[in-house]
Symmetry: C2
Subunit: 387 residues, 2 copies
C-alpha cells in the first residue's frame, strides 16, 4: 500500500460514508472532523498565509477599502471572520476601530495573537480561536470584514460562515466588507485543451498496455475495469476545472455576469445552488471555442444608508498587468466548439455542492449553438468538478 | 482565501480538535470521518490502484508467494485485508482457495467486485465493503493475506487492521501472508541535503524581503512571526522524511535491522512505538554522512507448523535493477556529519505516531560520534516527521 496522495490524484475527494454528521452545509450533511482534515488544516501554515499576503491585488483592495473609508471604522466595533494571520483585524484597528473581534478556526489564531501584540494592538483586537458558528462575542458589531472568497468565488463555501456571522452579530445598520460580489463567465481559447486531450489519450494507451501486461504476467483480465478507468481519467483530465492565469487576449467573447450577491442580504440557499441562463457572444473572427473561464470580483461600497466615501473593487479578471492567487477557473469543452461568423452560444450553468465535500462544487454546463442562419444545434451537457 | 492544498504545503496534517472521536489508533484518539478524508479516499481511485499494480517487485513477490506455496491455499479459506482492486483475493482463488473474503473500506470494493466477476471467481471470492474492524464473516480463516505496508513499513498504520483481523478471524494454526517484516536503516550520501538547505535559505531570504515589503506598503510589522515561520520552513525542508529511490552506492555504511516483526504474534503496541539503539559503521574512505535512509522487507515463510515450500522475500532496499513505489525514506542530517577513518555513530531512533494523524509518524533520531581515538561527541537530537 502507499496512501501518499500524489499530484496525479484529485485532492479533496473525502468520503465520509457511515460517519457521524454534526453540522449542515447548505442542505448537505457535514462532518466537522473531516472538514478540518480536508479544509481548515491548510490555513494553519504560515507559508500559505504568506501566499495570500503577497497577493498585491488582494492586499491593495482591502487596504484601500479600509483606509479610504475611515468613517466606517473610527470608533466602531468590527468582526473579522477567518482572520488568518490577523491582517484585516490589524488594519481595522489601525484605521481607528474601538474594538475588533478576530475569529479564526485554526491554530493560526495563535500566530495572529503574536502578530497583533507585536504591532501593539492587543488592547483593541481580541483573537478568538474557534469556528464563527461556535463562538460568542459580547456585542453586535458595526462592521463585518472577511476575505472569504474561493476559486470562482464560491469554492470553499466560506461565504456561509460570513452569512451566519452577519445574521447573528451584525447590527441592523451594519456594513459588510466587501459589500457585493459578482461571478463572471467568458468563452476562451487555450492550448490547455489539446494538452489535456493528449494527456488523457496517453493515460488510456498506458492503461491498454497495462491490461496486456497483467494478463500475460499475472493471469488476471483487467479489461472489465476499462470503463470506470476511462471515466475516472476523463473526469481528471477533461472534466475538472483548472486553475489558470489567463491573458486577456485568450478571452474570445463578451464576459457575462452570471450571479450577483448583495452581502447584506444574500442567503446560504442562494450561494449553495447557483443557476444561470445566458448567451455567449463571440468577438469577430473567432473560429473555435476551447472552453470557458469563471472568475469573480467583489466591491466595497458600504451600505445604502452609509455608503463608502470611495468605492473600491477587487477583481480577479484576466489582466495583462496584475494577477491574483485566485487566477481563473477554466472549464474545457472537449470536443471544442467550431464557430462560424455570427454564431451565439445559448448556455445554462448550474453550480451545486459536491455530495462528498460541501466545500467543493459540481458544475453542469449546457450549450447550444445558435447559427446566424437561425439553425440551433442540439443541447450538449458537460459536467465538471471544482476541486 | 484559497484553501487549495499546493505542492509546497505538507499534506495530511489534519487537525481534529473538538471533534467526535470514535476509535483508537494505538493509544491515540481517531476520528473515523477525518481518517476517511485523510487516508482511505486515496485508495478509491483506480489510478492509484494501478500505480501499485505496476510495481513489479511487489506484484512478483505476492504472486510467487502464492503460486509457489499452493498447499497454503488449495481448499483453504482466506481473508484479504484491504483488497483494493481485488488482485490478491483473485490469486488466492486461482491458487485453489475454497473461499476468499475480500474486505475493502473504500468504494474501490465495487470495482473489486467487477474485476472478480470479470475473472469468473465470484463463486469463490466475496467482497465485503467496510472496515475490517466493523465487518463480520461467518467463519475463521486458514490464511490472512494483506498488502498493508506503508513507507518505511509503518506509515499508514494499516498493520493495526491486519493484527485486529488476525486476532479475531485467524484460526489458531493459521498463516499470515506475509509472515515477517523488518525495518532497515543505513547512512547515506545524497545531494538532496545541499538542495534542501538551499531551498530553505531561499525561503528565509524571501521571508525577509516579504517583511520589508509588508512594513513599507501595509504598515504592518511581521517580524514577530519570523521564529515560527523559520520553524515551519525547517520542518518542511529539513525535518520531513523524503521519498527517494536511492542508488546502492549512496549507502555509505552497513545497513542495520532496527526492528523485526513476526506477523503471527506482533501486537499493535509494538508497532505503535518503536525504539531502537544501534551503531552505524561506515564503509572505508567515506568522509561525510548527509543523512540516513529507512526501508523495509517482508518475508513469506508460512508458519512454524506449516512452513512455506518456497520462501519468498519482498525487499524495498536500494537496488540498481529494481525499484518499488515505496522507494526509501531519507532523513537529512543538517548539518551533515564529518567523518574520520574509524568513526562510528552511536544512534537511537524513536518512531511514534503523530498526535494529529495516527497514520503519520514522528521520528526522533539521536546520534553521537565515537572517534577512533575513543573521544565521544555530545549527543545531537534530530526530529523528523513522516508525512
Amino acid at each position: 500500500m502507499n496512501g501518499h496522495a500524489n499530484g496525479e490524484v484529485p485532492s479533496g475527494m473525502a468520503s465520509s460514508r457511515g460517519t457521524p454528521r454534526v453540522a449542515d452545509g447548505g442542505g448537505l450533511a457535514v462532518d466537522k472532523a473531516a472538514d478540518f482534515a480536508n479544509y481548515f488544516c491548510t490555513y494553519a501554515f504560515l507559508y500559505h498565509q504568506k501566499e495570500m499576503l503577497v497577493d498585491r491585488v488582494r492586499m491593495d483592495a482591502y487596504f484601500s477599502s479600509i483606509f479610504r473609508n475611515l468613517k466606517h471604522f473610527v470608533g466602531k466595533t468590527v468582526l473579522d471572520v477567518g482572520t488568518g494571520s490577523g491582517i484585516l483585524a490589524i488594519w481595522a484597528a489601525q484605521a481607528g476601530a474601538k474594538k475588533v473581534y478576530a475569529v479564526e478556526a485554526t491554530a493560526m489564531a495563535r500566530h495572529a495573537r503574536t502578530l497583533i501584540a507585536g504591532n501593539k494592538l492587543d488592547h483593541i483586537v481580541e483573537v478568538i480561536e474557534g469556528s464563527v458558528e461556535d463562538i460568542t462575542i459580547p456585542e453586535k458589531v458595526d462592521v463585518i470584514i472577511s476575505e472569504w472568497m474561493g476559486y470562482f468565488l464560491v469554492r470553499e463555501s466560506m461565504f456561509d460562515s460570513v452569512i451566519y456571522a452577519r445574521d447573528k452579530w451584525l447590527k441592523p445598520d451594519g456594513i459588510m466588507y466587501p459589500s457585493h460580489a459578482r461571478m463572471w463567465i467568458a468563452p476562451v481559447r487555450t492550448s490547455i485543451l489539446e494538452q489535456k486531450q493528449q494527456e488523457y489519450e496517453h493515460a488510456m494507451a498506458d492503461w491498454n498496455s497495462f491490461l496486456q501486461d497483467t494478463n500475460l504476467h499475472y493471469k488476471v483480465d483487467m479489461s472489465c475495469l476499462s470503463k470506470p478507468y476511462k471515466e475516472e481519467q476523463q473526469k481528471y483530465f477533461l472534466q475538472t476545472a483548472l486553475w489558470n492565469s489567463l491573458y486577456p487576449n485568450q478571452i474570445i467573447g463578451t464576459p457575462v455576469i452570471i450571479k450577483e450577491f448583495d452581502c447584506l442580504t444574500t442567503t446560504v440557499e442562494e450561494v449553495a445552488a447557483i443557476r444561470s441562463s445566458f448567451k455567449m457572444h463571440f468577438y469577430e473572427s473567432q473560429r473555435k471555442c476551447s472552453g470557458f473561464a469563471g472568475w469573480f470580483d467583489v466591491q466595497f461600497k458600504g451600505s445604502p444608508s452609509n455608503p463608502a466615501d470611495e468605492e473600491v473593487e477587487l477583481t480577479t479578471a484576466p489582466s495583462a498587468e496584475e494577477t491574483t492567487h485566485w487566477g481563473q477557473q477554466v472549464f474545457l469543452l472537449s470536443p471544442s466548439v467550431n464557430l462560424s461568423a455570427g454564431d451565439v452560444l445559448s448556455c445554462s450553468l448550474d453550480i451545486t455542492r459536491s455530495r462528498q465535500n460541501h466545500r467543493l462544487m459540481d458544475v453542469k454546463f449546457v450549450h447550444q449553438v445558435e447559427r446566424a442562419s437561425g439553425e440551433v444545434s442540439p443541447p450538449i451537457t458537460s459536467p465538471y468538478a471544482i476541486e
